[in-house]
Structure formats: structure tokens, C-alpha cells
Symmetry: C2
Subunit: 527 residues, 2 copies
């Protein structure tokens, strides 16, 4: 497909390019004084700090396409002066106090899956790696159905521990975390919360912001733990204020997460083919608003994504002919797939209701296979991005939140913008449905030789989303990538509130400084 | 029952006392200059301001027992200098700008149902009455299932308009607001949100904080409207920060609320009698965590509330004998009642599941009658409080949020504290269930002649709740009543965050000043 689309031949796939395998001389000495390095090393304990350039580079990068492109071309951006692996929250507190006194910038690396340049140490200073030591499940409370966990625990380790609660915690039941972002294997519990992530089953379990019950933070303005109440009327909630703070206010050192009963035997899969995107959207809205319960995973693909998906899934020719005879035409038909979790009778009811609703909107039920296949490859498929990069093909994504009433305008205009570029694939899906709206996930694939060329195109899509009434992000966060649009998006009065909070928590601007969330953009280029 | 409990006779109910019907000379001249009164009157337009002492008193009072007791004894506390009825948000903006310049305190009165002294104008200044003009449903968006509404609209008017959406807005469906606090008839949409209220059907529809989609505020630091997205990852949400701000940051002038399909025909009622409070709590937790959907109204009463309730509901003697034979003993058995809303098949499923769960925990199903009767009188029963007050009997309530694992400790200790006082009725129920916890609603009834005696007892119960791990409030808010406990409850570091926000939004301390939320307590007695 790629060959055909981009007019490439086997020859083009013979030699990889820009793999970034050459030895790079970074030669960037640490700016911290030896006294400072020594003091921080004292706090963190033996073997938990490093000034090694490879380490400093490794923990300075997230997962954006432009970072991959740059590294492939031996371009190394800002790195921290010192990498620190704190052992526990007391270490973090001591380090923050020391750095605040010495005005040393602090960055945080946990899973390192940021696609928003959220962890780039643009002011040097130190990077705290939370996923080295601070990755334990500390306590399981079955009565409250909560887990107390450290921020650096990776998704699979966390989920495995919950699934094995009877063996590991002598619990009466098995549990699930309910949060399965595409980055699941490469992201951590703390990262989910501070960036406001959403898992693929969020339509049932809620977004990370809904799943976290309380948080403990270390900030230059003090350390605190929010209370464990599910619902209170005790004024504006600091718990809410910290969600999405992306390291700019302080460091999340412990969380209490809601957990859910693990009942995989009750899971029911479904897939449908709709005659059109409009029909798929209408059915999805009805499902979100129908008040009969909610699916866990629920996704609809637009016509181009459907077409390419059916090709990748090897839709048998005879089936395709029948589909077309029934009116499900290529580049019009849309795929819907998902699953339902919860109590056995509940999943039966919700599946029945979804089937009925989809059929009322002209869909044909296409079995469980597609959804099961999707579930199997959902974490590995994105890795294709790395492989194709080496042949000059860039796959990238941008995502947004949108109200139902603005969905078609936004989809049409952003898609049209992407398609303006010659030989560019544009695929879109909605993967998180709410009664009041959904998200849109835009994927574009094209050949990009020049980083600036790619960057201009990528940034123009963001501008196009913003202009057409989409949010700057549904679940990737802001980081430094979206920062320049923040003030326009929220308005100055609201940005001033965030800046006031920044000033309160971090008067010396040491917490993830240099443009994060657009809070200290004016200083970005003065370093 | 009251007579028996408090050793009273018919004679005691012959003459009312402390009705507060005598003419009071308040004689409190306005402190605003005539220029200021004139300027504000100019902004608000003819007929929309008043310096009349009756008006100023009327809008200076909420609904706490101590306010009722004081007024009954001709004690009049602080009143505003000027009552203003703004016509629209532009009026509010002009008034806030003017008052900020002149440093005139601004209080807000909407429904006036505060039971936390939340609207008491302790620094005089002006009171804005939002429920006079700003009470319209501005727009219904069926695609997004949202309603744009002004803050001063009362519950019944709002709900009626939504129920009649086809007639009033040419809508395709009827809708419900999903929010039915006991104060429904006396509270407004804006008040629900700024105090973090919860409706009686919150276990299904969510609390006010969940139901509001976006808000527009006028503050001394500027006017802004939060965006209408259901879920975004664009940093800490100003929308969340404003929820529960109780007039201390700014004035809520418009809201977009989520609305729900109005399907009263699908509603199913239920009631059960459990052998014990422990069994009722365990079943409730299982229902909240069972993942088969959620009831709308769901309440369990402790043994004393159950006993008194069954007496009031006139439980027939033969039924009582059977119940006791079956092991449901007086002062042990506990009543559970509620209803389920949503799709017809969904309500059937959830009712079946609730029945099964309750029976597994030893309950006997007692039909729909109790729940229907409760629903009929739920808004009028509290009025008994006013009648009994005139005979020296005070009914009052305090409510809290609690985790499942701390529920019994909190209930036992607070109940024991209340029962220490001779001849005092103590009734408790849980009326909002979540997977991680519930609320507890403590009702006490006693004879109180002296206001200070009442106040000491009331405040001691708050202290007892706080000490035993309950939140300061589940849905009444903080106001000035709970303010003295705020710093202890949240800790200084978190209170400092709220104070930083206060300072940002309201640098001249004109927004609901004098202790609200505990933010400017140090100034409380200096006026």
C-alpha cells in the first residue's frame, strides 16, 4: 500500500536512511557546579546519579516524530546536566528543596512516552527518572476498591499486579486498572494523571482524571496529599488543580487510584460496517446518550481509515462484493469496533442495545473478529512508525476533543487540509465517546525528507484544528508542542490563572521550565 | 413522637414562641456614599436597587437553624448596604468593575438556601440578587444534550422547561436536569455549581460538578467562559477551579449544563428492610461496585432513622410482628429505598441486580410504596423544621463524605457523640453512593432554648466528624460555618493554594469577603 501510495519500489526499501546509528559527539559539559552535583548525589544515594552524556541524552527525549527525525540525523537538542534516580518521595522532597534554593531546573522522566516535548530539558538542570525506583504498588484496599501506587510504575506491571491481587495481596478478587492508552507498555501511572491521559476503554472506565482518587505532590511551595474522599463540597479541589499540571507545578510522588473488578470472561466484542461516516457518528452519539450503559472500547473509523484498515485486515474479495451490493461502498463505508466490560448481564444488555442502535442507523454487524484482532495488535501497530521512518515515511497523529454539533465541520476541514498536501494519507477515528461529544484522532502519513518541511505541516494542522473549534488536545497533553496555541485557545484571563498558580507553586521557575503548558513561553528563547 | 421523646404535652404546643413576628427597628444606615449608591443604581437600571431595610435583611439570610433562631428572637446580624438586582451579565461585569475600583464588598444571593452562612454580608457592601432577572433558559442543544442557562433559574422552572422542551424549544425529545437536591424548590442552577451540590439522584446522574459542562464568570481579574469540551488534556482546568468557589473568586453569570433524556415511564422504585446497618452498608457497597449500572436515588437509613421512619409511615402492627418474627428487629433493622432511571431495559436489569444483592445480604424486599411515598414528600418534609422551631424544638443536619472503610467508625462515633446529649434524637442515612465511598447525613433533633447552647453542640458535632475522618462537607459547602476547620482539614499547603487563587482573582478582597471558605478568616472580626 505504501509503495503504491508514494510511488515507491522495492529499491526504496533496500537501504535504510537516517537511522541515527553513527556515533555522536555531544560534548556538552554539565553547567552544574561540582558542589551541586555532589550535593544532589548525596541526597539520591550511591549509583543514583549520572553525568554520562548517553544517559543525559536518553532521558531528554520523548516520542514525537520530530525527535525521531532529529536523532536519526545526529541532531541532539538540549539535555540535562545530571540524571537522578530518586529512591522515594523523601528523596524527591530533598532534591526539590535543594534545587529550589539553588535555582536548578528540574525535569521529570517517567515512561518517556511524551509526544508533546513535555520532558525536554530546555534549561538543562536535572532530570528525575521516576521509573527506576519509584514503581511499586504500595497498598490495595478492597473495601474502597483503591490502589496506592508510586508514579513510576509502568502500565503492564501495574495491571499484572492488580490482576494477581489474590496471589500478591491475599485479596478476595482480581482487579483491573481500567486505563489502557496506546502507550500502555511505555507509560506510567503518574504520567497518565499529570498529562490527563485517556485509555482506550475510557468510555466505560473514565479518563485518567476520573480514575485517580487522590495525589501526593512535592512542590517548591510545600508537600501535600489530597484527601481520599470520592465527592466533597469543600471548595475548589486542589486534587483537580494538579491534574494535567505536567510537572510545571510540582512532582507527583504517590497516587491513590480507583480500581475495578477484573472480569475478562464477561467481555463482549463487536464490530459493524456503516454505510457512511455520518451514519456512524449518529449511531455513536445515540449510543453515548442512550442511557443503557456504556461500552468500554468504542471506535469508529472514517472512510479512508476504513478502506485502508480493510485492506490491511485482508477483507476477502467475495465479502467485499457482497458488501458493495448491499450499499457499503469503498471510501464511503465506515468501520466501528469495540467491546463491553462489566457484569455479565450488563455486557449482554449493552451489546444488544448497541447492535440495535447500529442497525437502526444502517449498519451491518460484522462479528467479533475485527475487534479481537484490533485488541491483539493495538500496542504493537504503532511500532510500524519506527520502521517506516527509516525509509523516509513519517506517520504522525494529532488528536482533539470536539462537541457532537461541531464534529463534521472539524473533521471535514482538517481532513481537507491534510489532503491538500500531495500524496498524503489522512485517516481519522473517534475513540472516546461521551454524551456531549467525542475525540477525533487524525493520522497522517507522508514522505518527508526535510524536518522543517514536516514541522511546518504538522504545526499547520494544529492551527487548523484550533481554528475549526477542536480542543488543543484530548489526551496527549500540551507540553511544549501545543504551548504556543494555549493563550489563544483558553484566552488571556484563563491563562493568567494558570500563571498565577505557576507562580505560587514555583516562584523560582524551576519546575519543568521553558514553555511547558505555555506558562513561561516568554523566557523560552532567552536561555 | 416528639411529645413522648421530649416529655412535652399538648400545653407545650398551644403557644408558639420566638416566631419573630414583632416589628424590629434595625436602624442601620448604609455606609456606601450617595455617589456610590447612585453609580450602582445607574448601572443596574431603574427599580433594580434598594436601600430599604427589609429588603437588605431579606437578602442577608440563608437557611441555617441559627439564623432562624436569631430572627425569631429579633436579633438581626449584618446586612448589606444596598441590594441590587442585575438584569444580565453585562450589568454584573460593570458592577464588579466599579466595586473593585471603589473597594466595595459584593455578596451574591440566588436561591438563598445556604445552610453554611455562605451569603452573609459580614462586610456590608452590596448584595447581588441573581434570581430576579437572570433566570432564563437561553438555549437547548439537542445534539450535544446541553442547556445554556442563567445562574438564577430555580430548580422547578429549569426542570419544567426541560420537560417541556418539545413545546418550548421545538425539541425532538423531553429532557431532565438530573439534579434534585432537597432544596430543589428553593435553590438555583448557579448555586448548585458554586457550592458543589449533589442531587438525590446523584448516584446515577452525578453531582453538580459532574453535570456542569462549562461556566462563564465575572471576576475582578477579568471575565471568561470555559470551553465546552467534555474532556481535554489542556492543562489544569479553570472550569474545575471555579467549581465550589462559593462567590469568593467571582460571580457565575452563565452555565452550560449537561441534560438527560426524560423517561419517567422507565423509572422503577424499590425498598428493602435489612436486618442491620452493617448488612445495609455491605449491600450498598456491593451495589456501587458491582458494575451492572447504577440506581438514581439510593438511600439507607440507620436503625434509629428506620425506627422513626416506620412509625411516621404507619407500619401496620401485623406486618411489624411478621418482620420481627423474621429477625428484622426494632432498633436493628434498616430501611433502604430508591429508584432507577434510564432506558427501560437498563432499569429492569439494575432493579433485578439490586434485588439480588440486597437479598444476598439478608434483606427483605418491601415493595415500591416506601420509595414512592418518600419521593412525594421529599421536598415538603424539611418544612417540619420551621413548624417545630416555633415550639422550641430544633431539627438540624450535618453531612459528610466518607470512604467505605471508615464508614462504621465515623457513624458510630458521631452518633455516640450526639446521643450523649440527653433527650436528643439522632438519625443517619447514606444517600449518595460511589464505588469508593458514600456520604453520611446526620440529623439531630432536640429542645434548645439558648442559641449559644445550640451553637456549641452543633459546632462540636462538626469537630467530631472532622476528627473521625469525615470530610467537612459532602454537598452543603463550606461557607462561613465550616470555614474555621478548613485549614486543619486540608492542611496549610493546600489552603495556601486556595489563598493564592483568591489573591489572583480578587486582589482587593471584595468578593464575598469575611471568612468565606476560610480564605480571609483573619479579617473576620476586624470589620
Amino acid at each position: 500500500m505504501i509503495k503504491k501510495e508514494f510511488g515507491m519500489t522495492d529499491f526504496d526499501f533496500k537501504n535504510k536512511q537516517n537511522e541515527g546509528r553513527a556515533l555522536v559527539s555531544i560534548n556538552r559539559p554539565a553547567c552544574l557546579s561540582s558542589t551541586q552535583v555532589e550535593a544532589i548525589s548525596q541526597i539520591a544515594g550511591p549509583g543514583n546519579t549520572s553525568t554520562n552524556e548517553y544517559e543525559r541524552t536518553r532521558y531528554a527525549y520523548g516520542k514525537t516524530s520530530e525527535e525521531m527525525m532529529e536523532l536519526g540525523r545526529q541532531v541532539v537538542r538540549e539535555i540535562a546536566d545530571l540524571v537522578v534516580h530518586p529512591r522515594n518521595k523523601q528523596d524527591v522532597q530533598n532534591i526539590v528543596m535543594y534545587c529550589n534554593r539553588e535555582k536548578i531546573p528540574i525535569y521529570v522522566f517517567s515512561g518517556g512516552s511524551s509526544v508533546t516535548l513535555g520532558l525536554r530539558p530546555v534549561k538543562a538542570g536535572i532530570t528525575l527518572v521516576l521509573s527506576t525506583h519509584m514503581k511499586k504498588l504500595l497498598e490495595l484496599n478492597e473495601k474502597n476498591q483503591t490502589a496506592r501506587v508510586q508514579p513510576g510504575m509502568f502500565g503492564p506491571a501495574y495491571e499484572t499486579a492488580l490482576n494477581h491481587a489474590p496471589e500478591r495481596f491475599m485479596a478476595r478478587r482480581r482487579y483491573t486498572c481500567g486505563h489502557f492508552p496506546q502507550s500502555f507498555e511505555h507509560s506510567t501511572v503518574g504520567g497518565w494523571v499529570v498529562t490527563l491521559g485517556s485509555g482506550q476503554a475510557s468510555s466505560y472506565y473514565g479518563d485518567a482524571a476520573d480514575i485517580v482518587l487522590s495525589q501526593e505532590y512535592v512542590t517548591p511551595a510545600g508537600t501535600f496529599k489530597t484527601l481520599d474522599f470520592t465527592s466533597t463540597a469543600t471548595g475548589p479541589k486542589i486534587h483537580d488543580i494538579m491534574k494535567g499540571s505536567e510537572g510545571a507545578f510540582g512532582i507527583l510522588v504517590e497516587l491513590t487510584m480507583k480500581i475495578f473488578r477484573h472480569m475478562p470472561a464477561n467481555r463482549r466484542y463487536f464490530s459493524f460496517i456503516f454505510p457512511s461516516w455520518k451514519a456512524a457518528v449518529s449511531a455513536s452519539r445515540e449510543i453515548a446518550q442512550g442511557e443503557f450503559g456504556h461500552p468500554a472500547v468504542y471506535r469508529i473509523s472514517d472512510s479512508e481509515e476504513t478502506d485502508r484498515g480493510l485492506k490491511l485486515y485482508d477483507l476477502p474479495k467475495p465479502v467485499d462484493i457482497i458488501l458493495q451490493k448491499l450499499g457499503y461502498m469503498p471510501m464511503q463505508r465506515c468501520l466501528c469496533l469495540g467491546n463491553i466490560e462489566g457484569d455479565r448481564d450488563y455486557t449482554r444488555l449493552v451489546k444488544r442495545k448497541i447492535k440495535k442502535t447500529c442497525k437502526q442507523h444502517g449498519a451491518i454487524y460484522s462479528g467479533e473478529y475485527g475487534a479481537k484482532k484490533w485488541a491483539k495488535t493495538r500496542y504493537t501497530e504503532p511500532c510500524m512508525r519506527e520502521d517506516l521512518h527509516d525509509y523516509g515515511i513519517i506517520i504522525d497523529t494529532l488528536e482533539t476533543s470536539v462537541t457532537w454539533s461541531n464534529l463534521h465541520r472539524l473533521h471535514q476541514n482538517v481532513r481537507a487540509f491534510i489532503k491538500q498536501r500531495p500524496k498524503t494519507i489522512s485517516m481519522t477515528h473517534a475513540s472516546h465517546i461521551y454524551p456531549q461529544g467525542t475525540n477525533l484522532y487524525f493520522i497522517f502519513i507522508g514522505r518527508f525528507d526535510d524536518i522543517d518541511d514536516y514541522r511546518r505541516f504538522h504545526r499547520a494542522i494544529i492551527g487548523c484544528i484550533e481554528k475549526n473549534g477542536g480542543s488543543l488536545s484530548h489526551h496527549h497533553g500540551i507540553g511544549r508542542l501545543m504551548a504556543p496555541w494555549m493563550e489563544k485557545h483558553l484566552g488571556k484571563v484563563q491563562m493568567d490563572v494558570l500563571r498565577a498558580l505557576k507562580k505560587h507553586f514555583d516562584p523560582n521557575t524551576i519546575m519543568n521550565p521553558g514553555g511547558q503548558l505555555g506558562l513561561d513561553l516568554e523566557h523560552q528563547d532567552t536561555h
